[in-house]
Amino acid sequence: MKKEESKISKIKDRVAKLLEKDVSVFIAYERMPFELKDRLTIISSPKEVDKISVSPFMVGSPARMLLEIGGIDDGKIGIIARACDTRAIKQLIKEGKIKRERVYIMGITCGGMVNTRKLRSPRFENGRLYDHDREVHMKDVLYDTCSRCEDPLPVLYDEVFDVFDVFEGVSKADESTEEIEGDREKRWSYWMGEMEKCIRCYACRSACPMCYCTECLVDPINLAVSPFTSAEEKASYPRFLGKTISAEDNLFYHIIRVLHHAGRCADCGECERACPMDIPIRELERKMREVVRDVFGYDDDEIPFLAKLDMIPEGR
């Protein structure tokens, strides 16, 4: 563990050095005071670098934060990014949302993130993870997304720091979508059961680095309301999805959300991490990914998938 600490202090030194001249702000994680979680924070002076925490308990997508603060000032933005974050940043650059020269990407090797919900009372001491008094292997409590990660190494970076050993159990054979066993009725009742849990808090949408539409399908904001707008007019304003509670409508929302991510999803699993009801949204995203790859034969091209037109699958 001493080794890891020295690696993290190396990162801190480097961040402090960069903040002195090249980079104006840095997006990093800091430990939350009473919880075993690292949350996103913005570091703007070299004095603050001691806050930085790099651990398997990081929550939130720095790519999303980069997207949100990207337009604020003209300086360069530094970012400490895991493999999935670099994938998201790469996609955002491809879509013209971020300029490559305005980001300084400090990649870190990643051994997967720990799902603390799998533990009752997690404790982290001297590099070991405990649940009550029992020691737990990190591998057993990783997020499903992480234990199935296809590529745990950053794809786009200015420099890479080797912090964690890349998770050994990562198997590329494991990446295919597991069809939920059984026929349609079984699958439908499985998904209805899952969607019944959805409270439509839209945390999945807020956490996702790819969900940046200014107006989402589910919240119509372009109705100009004046004092003369009647209640009836407001109530009957056409919208695809109102404030309903049925499982079918929740599925409607999730299907449309996933469709918008076709060929773009960075596979970071932030949606599942953000979900308070533990809905397996990633299953849908993974299915979409599989279709894009197997049916359309699209594989990480220069042109975004939805804009590429010369892919017409035959016989479908």
């Binding site: 409607f252 449309i256 894009v292």
Partner: protein
């Protein structure tokens, strides 16, 4: 009471709607279960519109557009194809009958083909039975 399927067709203004019109003017009879909505291009049919139709109780939805390469707006039908293939795969994945959604290429001269396809699709939906999964009202 016998089940009469309700089918919604999004027909593109330039090819399929003209094709449906030709079927009418050449007095070809086809299933009266079909309701046609004219859209400017099959590429404007948002997947949300299709799901909305299912939610409103339609038993089948057809998106009809120009043949590949013939689109009035050059590429609209390519977008439609991509969206509908993705949506069908997702619907199948969650256990919805993906046969209820169909993509049809019909040009302005294919009145006969349009009528035949509509009859065929109606029969298929009749066999599948009423669509109860997305329907909003009582089950």
């Amino acid at each position: 009471m016998d089940f009469e399927p309700k089918i919604l067709v999004f027909a593109c203004n330039w090819c399929s709607y003209a094709g449906a019109d030709l079927a009418g003017t050449s007095r070809l009879q086809y299933a009266p279960n079909v309701r046609i909505v004219r859209v400017m291009c099959s590429g404007m049919v948002n997947p949300a519109l299709i799901l909305h139709a299912f939610r409103m109780g339609f038993d089948g939805v057809v998106v009809a557009g120009c043949h590949p390469g013939d689109c009035h707006y050059n590429v609209g039908n390519y977008y439609a194809k991509k969206r509908i293939v993705l949506l069908r795969e997702l619907l199948e994945f969650v256990g919805f009958e993906s046969e209820r959604l169909k993509l049809l290429w019909a040009s302005a001269s294919e009145g006969k083909k349009f009528a035949e396809e509509m009859n065929e699709f109606t029969e298929k939906i009749r066999e599948l039975g009423p669509q109860e999964k997305f329907r909003r009202c009582q089950k």
